[in-house]
Amino acid sequence: MADLIATPRAALADVLRDGRYGRTDGTPGLTLCERAELSLATVIARKGQSQALAELVKSAYGIDLPSTPRFAGGQLPDGRFLIFIWAGFEQWLALAEGARDFDRELTLGLGKRALIMDQSDGRAILRLRGPKAREALAKGIAIDLHPRAFKPGDVALTTAAHIGVQLWQVDETPTYEIAVPRSLAKSLWAWLSASAAEFGYEVTSSE
């Protein structure tokens, strides 16, 4: 039976359909998509190793591991995309595009200084972009997202619609990404789509 290929299924596969939703007049206030192809891993500094880990990450990837609620990284010199998102005291969520066996790669590279746990399937990542993204998020997230208070690179661990989420700002458009526990992604979507409907929103299958 080795010919059976296990087709992956995105967390929001049965609710997201490309198209225009909510208010129909004018340009959509925001664009939403699920980033289903990412690799994720929890990275925890081993006891007393946070300094050494930071040095290792710097030398391995050229990334300054953030020690405050920020993320760091981006396109690496070799073309790959990798960021470390602060996720609590001496903890990060590492996010990569197009990686294979990401947890193994990280364990190999950082395992001496850090504990690595695969979360690629544990979180659904939603991307929101557009002039009304802040207003839509304000309907459920108790974080001040005003440009003076929350900037590209900033990260927050918070809740939305009674669901624990991790939120970060990608750019000044503004673009945000939200990580939500996979089993709860549909409930988060129910809230987010209801909140965005007033502004009109577009669902796209890729960014």
């Binding site: 039976m1 080795a2 010919d3 059976l4 290929i5 296990a6 087709t7 992956p8 299924r9 995105a10 967390a11 049965d14 909510g22 208010r23 289903a36 929890t42 925890i44 081993r46 006891k47 007393g48 066996d101 504990l115 746990m117 695969d118 979360q119 690629s120 399937d121 544990g122 979180r123 304000a138 309907k139 459920g140 997230i141 108790a142 974080i143 001040d144 005003h146 003076r148 208070a149 619609a161 009674h162 669901i163 526990p181 996979r182 089993s183 709860l184 549909k186 409930s187 988060l188 129910a190 809230w191 209801a194 909140s195 409907a197 007033e198 009109g200």
Partner: protein
């Protein structure tokens, strides 16, 4: 929210007669003036009568413009009531708005913005407003005084619910609840700012402007649909501009700042800790139906670094006989209807006011062509200002006089006046403009416990200690002069911005004419005729306060509870100060000595729907879906909620008469062939680090260091108090790497507990833990053919034979051609069984592959019902047994406990009470009659003793019908149970009315040697 200021300056000429506008007559509409759009007419209905108003009207102003005086009936006495005020404080003009599922009872006509097609109806009358049979209650009103219900409906107690309550509910009360589920959508939102300004009158506008000009982020909240507060009712000039123009200019500037948010139709209803405020935005209350995708209302949580309270003040009624007759209005409301809405509340007015500000309403009346019959000024010395007003308006000045009573039924016709010399006379009139002074709107300053302070000069309470970060300015802190209000607002706004790092100065204040707000208190008219109301909404009169005092309810809090003064939708906004002043007078104490009642949020009523927002119906709480959900749904699975999870309960097939048939079929499939069940909901915690084995030793009561890599062990976790907390299996994936599983119910609680242990108790341990519940789709594959099924999907290079992967072993494998997976040889069903973990995104494909591969083996999916039946057959403890009151010993785990080490709960588990041999312990029970069905929760009582609590020896915790044994079986907790094997007992279920004889047996009913799971 109102600010107040008098302006006796310019008079704008107005014609005395009204002319029809837009072709529709509005008999009491002034011909010109007012902030209304005369070009458009809005049809609306009141009690089915079709009327017209204009954009810019409230329901109340449109009723005034149509000459409607009688608007409702009072709560207790069913007295005719009209419109008292022009703001949120309205106690009398309460109507039902809209109809059907959108019906809103007890809505204040003064706060409803008129819209095309508005439907309103009067309340608490039968059969009609004009002819109310219940008004007969007034005849008996001497018996209906405060405390009447408490005294009269005391006994017999059996009458409370059956007779008295329906009777009282029928006679008293206000509107009716809506008939269906609210069809509208509500939402919540969060906002943040440097400076929050509450109220947009003179002080609020200047405060917002000063703060905005500094560059600070400002939110200005206004309850009305138009900014300006009391300025909208002024006819005088502000810095050479008409007041409404001044307001418009400031508003335009405020709206030009990108970081200023002006929120109209938004009531700031509560002050909470740390600069948090609650606000209700009525997004679409001003139209018949919200547009698609828009909410009806939005509840805001506003976090502000600083706050300026400029909420204005509320005018107080005077307490004289029949002061509740329709046509008797607050002076400021009369001014508001005339100047803002161009609506004339009457043709012949009497002004009765104890202060200069309100008396000046005579000028507004005169200018609008209303005859001012008399100016009754109760102040003992003749005020030159009153003399001037009387001269200017042609009114008869009755200095030192009082109105003792209003005359008229459904509307006031005249007033009885007692002059300074004691002579009484009657003055015909159809409107009375009364004012007993003003009370600052300080509610929001007291929500965190600050007490108001009495200010003798304004005869009112002002904010005392305000919450941190809040400053009050303008009328809200007792400043009534317009020039002072403008200056105080500008200063407060600048100071607030400055305090959070925006260097600024108060904005320049325009010139206005000086005014006087001098007041001499008159708390009630002595020797009045007829009922003199203090609280209009609750029908509380001055006599009720006397009665309360006589009966010992002298404290203001007791006064409130005894008389209901200050309760209900208006929370005594117009009544509280008058009420406690009368109490002070009776008890010969000062007002500060008498005290003040506590204000609590919300300032005005807030619909529960707005507080719920999106969290309604199935969105009341989030739902968690399992990786196989879509597949199971397509199979027609019936789902059950287990916590937030939605799990397949059973998979019905054609021919199943009920869940019972499906469940039995699924059990038989597992026991005879193979079944698959989604168990992804179990908590999974990844534990790594050099001290991971030590960590496990400390959190579990059994031992862990001896567990080799590639093996799984069952573990029991205790709470600190020695009782069982949770159980599950933990696999050793590597020397320093474990995967713990928890019960579904305790997944989050165990994670929290472990985090606490790690971070607080043992921060020295080199260990890290993370929940990976969401990462893995986990399927139980159980039954004699389970290995055969797995061999079909596990890639060939992995040996999963009994020798390579024996019972309680685990291994990393790949499935379906290279997909990384984890395979655990563990069993909850008691069969040869495995749990297969795959990354969640592949969960859907893997369940489909399993079912496809298993077709030839007769594979069946099984749900929670079958899972539970099989665990009862095996005697495993679950929810009913892990109930927080059982110990490891109770559940038969004494030998599991490794007493040679320390672990959480060890010390307390050795308490004598927990080792008492009389404790109830886990046993199995079977009915003597094989056809009898056991019920969970039935109590064990020895045979031949009475069924009573003394003879209660325990109860059944879980029961199931075992299709394998063809009999009902049960688990239970029984006193000294292990010594009572074979004993016969009664299982008495008083709730379901059953009494079954059972025999005590070991808790494992099937394959106690475990031959099947080792197969």
């Amino acid at each position: 929210m109102t600010t107040t200021s008098a302006n006796v300056g310019e008079t704008l000429s107005r014609s005395e007669t009204s002319t029809p506008t837009a072709g529709v007559p509005q008999p009491a509409r002034l011909a010109s003036g007012g902030l209304i759009d005369r070009a458009r007419s809005l049809p609306f209905s009141f009690d089915g009568r079709k009327l017209f108003g204009h954009p810019g009207d409230t329901l109340a102003s449109a009723l005034v413009a149509n000459g409607v005086k009688l608007v409702g009936r009072s709560f207790k006495y069913h007295r005719p009531r009209g419109i008292l005020s022009a703001g949120p404080e309205e106690p009398s003009a309460l109507v039902e708005l809209r109809s059907g599922a959108r019906r809103e009872p007890n809505t204040r006509a003064t706060s409803i913005e008129l819209f095309d097609g508005l439907e309103a109806a009067s309340q608490n009358r039968w059969p009609s407003l004009a002819f109310d049979l219940m008004a007969a209650g007034s005849v008996f009103s001497p018996f209906l005084a405060a405390g009447f219900y408490y005294k009269t409906f005391m006994w017999p107690a059996s009458f409370w619910e059956k007779v008295y309550e329906p009777l009282i509910r029928r006679a008293a009360g206000l509107g009716r609840a809506p008939e269906g589920i609210d069809p509208d959508h509500y939402e919540k939102a969060h906002a943040f700012c440097d400076v929050l300004v509450i109220g947009s009158g003179a002080a609020g506008l200047m405060a917002a402007l000063s703060a905005a000009r500094s560059g600070a982020r400002v939110i200005l909240c206004e309850e009305d649909f138009r900014l300006g507060g009391r300025l909208l009712c002024e006819r005088g000039l502000i810095g050479g501009e008409a007041a409404p123009e001044f307001v418009q200019r400031i508003e335009a500037e405020l709206r030009s700042f990108p970081d200023v948010r002006v929120m109209t139709r938004t009531t700031l209803f509560g002050t909470y800790d740390h600069g948090t405020y609650g606000a209700l935005e009525r997004v679409n209350d001003h139209i018949a139906l919200p547009p698609p995708f828009e909410p009806r209302q939005r509840a805001w949580r506003i976090v502000a670094k600083r706050c300026v309270l400029t909420a204005g003040a509320i005018e107080r009624p005077l307490v004289f006989g029949n002061n509740d007759r329709p046509g008797v209005m607050l002076a400021g409301a009369v001014r508001s209807y005339l100047n803002r809405f161009a609506a004339r509340p009457g043709r012949r007015a009497v002004v009765f006011a104890n202060n200069d500000d309100a008396a000046s309403v005579a000028v507004d009346l005169h200018a609008a062509g209303v005859e001012v019959a008399a100016l009754v000024d109760p102040r003992p010395e003749t005020k030159p200002s009153s003399v001037a007003l009387a001269e200017k308006t042609g009114a008869r000045l009755i200095a030192g006089g009082v109105v003792t009573g209003a005359i008229g039924g459904p509307a006031v016709r005249a007033v009885e006046v007692r002059e300074a010399n004691g002579r009484s006379s009657r003055v015909a009139c159809d409107v009375v403009a009364m004012s007993g002074g003003f009370s600052p709107n300080l509610h929001l300053a007291t929500h965190l416990g600050g007490r108001p302070v009495w200010d003798e000069t304004i005869a009112g309470f002002v904010p005392g200690d305000t919450p941190r970060g809040m400053a009050a300015a303008g009328a809200a802190r007792g400043t009534y002069d317009l020039a002072d209000c403008l200056a105080a607002g500008a200063k407060a706004g600048a100071e607030a911005a400055d305090a959070v790092g925006f260097q600024t100065r108060p904005s320049a204040v325009p010139q206005v004419e000086p005014q006087s707000a001098a007041v001499t208190p008159l708390w009630r008219v002595r020797g009045h005729k007829g009922k003199a109301f203090i609280d209009f909404q609750n029908d509380v009169t001055d006599k009720d306060i006397e009665l309360a005092e006589r009966e010992g309810f002298r404290s203001v809090e007791h006064l409130k509870r005894y008389t209901t003064l200050g309760m209900a939708t208006d929370q005594g906004k117009t009544a509280n100060v008058n009420g406690l002043a009368v109490m002070a007078e009776i008890t010969e104490r000062s007002i500060p000595q008498t005290g003040v009642t506590t204000f609590r949020p919300p300032f005005t009523p807030v619909a529960i729907g707005a507080l719920a927002g999106h969290a309604r119906g199935k969105e009341h709480r989030p739902t968690r879906f399992t990786p196989s959900h879509e597949w199971a749904h397509a199979q027609g699975a019936v789902f059950v909620e287990t916590g937030l999870w939605l799990r397949a309960q059973y998979f019905p097939q054609e021919g199943d008469r009920s869940w019972f048939d499906a469940c039995n079929r699924e059990v038989i499939a597992v026991r005879s062939r193979v079944g698959v069940c989604d168990v992804s909901t179990l908590g999974k915690i990844d534990i790594q680090g050099a001290d991971a084995p030590e960590f496990l030793e400390r959190v579990y009561c059994n031992s862990w260091k001896s567990l080799p890599v590639g093996k799984v062990r069952y573990g029991v976790m205790l709470r600190e108090d020695g009782f069982v907390f949770d159980d599950g299996t933990t696999a050793r994936l590597g020397p320093d790497h474990y995967l713990m599983t928890t019960t579904t119910a305790n997944a989050a609680a165990v994670m929290q507990h472990l985090d606490f242990c790690h971070q607080v108790l043992w921060p020295d341990l080199d260990v890290g833990l993370v929940s990976v519940t969401e990462q893995w789709a986990q399927y139980a594959i159980a039954g004699p053919k389970s290995r055969e099924l797995l061999e079909a999907i596990v890639d060939r290079e992995h040996d999963i034979s009994n020798a390579a992967l024996p019972y309680m072993a685990c291994s990393e494998v790949t499935v379906l051609g290279g997909l990384r997976a984890r395979l655990f040889r563990i069993s909850f069903s008691g069969e040869l069984a495995y749990e297969l973990g795959v990354p969640c995104r592949h969960g859907d494909a893997v369940i489909r592959a399993l079912m496809k591969a298993g077709q030839s083996l007769g594979v069946a999916p099984y749900g929670l019902e079958a899972l539970n039946v099989m665990r009862v057959e095996k005697g495993h403890a679950a929810g009913g047994e892990l109930n927080g009151q059982t110990t490891a010993q109770d559940l038969g785990f004494s030998r599991l406990m490794a007493m040679g080490k320390d672990f959480i709960g060890r010390a307390m588990s050795q308490r004598s009470a927990l080792l008492d041999p009389d404790r109830q312990v886990l046993v199995g029970v079977k009915p003597l009659d094989p056809s009898a069905r056991l019920s969970a929760g039935a109590h064990f009582v020895p045979l031949d003793v009475p069924v009573n609590p003394e003879n209660d020896d325990g109860h059944t915790t879980s029961v199931a019908f075992s299709p394998s044994l063809n009999v009902s079986i049960g688990l239970g907790l029984l006193k000294r149970g292990r010594e009572r094997m074979g004993e016969r007992l009664r299982a008495v279920d008083a709730l379901r009315g059953t009494d079954i004889r059972v025999e005590v047996c070991p808790n494992c009913f099937l394959d106690p040697e475990g031959a099947r799971l080792r197969g």
